[in-house]
Symmetry: C2
Subunit: 133 residues, 2 copies
């Protein structure tokens, strides 16, 4: 993969996959990686314009403003891309301190212990409460 | 996507994509996200068995032990997966403090400033020196 060309218009400089998507990693104020999702051009533009993370939901096939149901919006602090411009890294401020639909701070709560995935992080809020609104 | 089933054998619990791959995010000791790459089953097994990050190179179509050319091996501290088991997060110790082929600490060195990607991190070592061995 050739390196990112920063002289191109910023959206064209990125390498979109065959489906027009790019992976996006969200990292919170404490430096925890909290989420991984996908963006298309429209969602990245929305993200930049609104200042809140907007992803492309591959299952629902629509733009998905993180927090639209849960209230757990992700305020954008900065957006980076990698050397070859095919992944995004979002520094975010996580509303409510919860990024995962299970009510945990991060989606990455399953740790490999020997040959077993063990949920090692605590649930901060019951999902029933989060999605009851 | 249904949530990860931790009662399944650990490799089967993960959701491999149509190409048999899963994205892997590497985070260093300082909490910086330094790399994003792909793994297949064999590379993840190698990673676990050797204790060093081994990825699947989609361009070269072969297992790729990070550091095999540069010496910048990534020692595995822990491996996590997310709520639905379709992404890996590796906590690593980065040999030489350089993860990127450009000689920077992290591959994520391009920051969006207005409508421009700006390389904001410093090159720690000339790539010519890194790959001269």
């Amino acid at each position: 993969m050739s390196d990112l060309d920063p002289t191109l218009p910023w959206l064209d400089a990125l390498k979109w996959d065959a489906d027009g998507l790019i992976p996006a990693i969200a990292q919170n104020e404490q430096g925890r990686v909290v989420m991984f999702a996908w963006m298309n051009r429209a969602s990245l533009q929305e993200t930049v314009h609104t200042g809140n993370a907007v992803y492309w939901s591959r299952t629902r096939r629509r733009l998905w403003c993180k927090g639209e149901e849960s209230g757990h919006f992700q305020k954008i602090k900065s957006i980076r891309t990698d050397c070859d411009g095919d992944v995004l890294l979002l520094a975010i401020e996580q509303a409510g301190g919860i990024s995962c639909h299970t009510g945990r701070a991060s989606c990455f709560f399953n740790e490999l212990h020997g040959e077993q995935w063990v949920p090692v992080d605590q649930v901060l809020k019951d999902p029933k409460e989060i999605y009851a609104r």
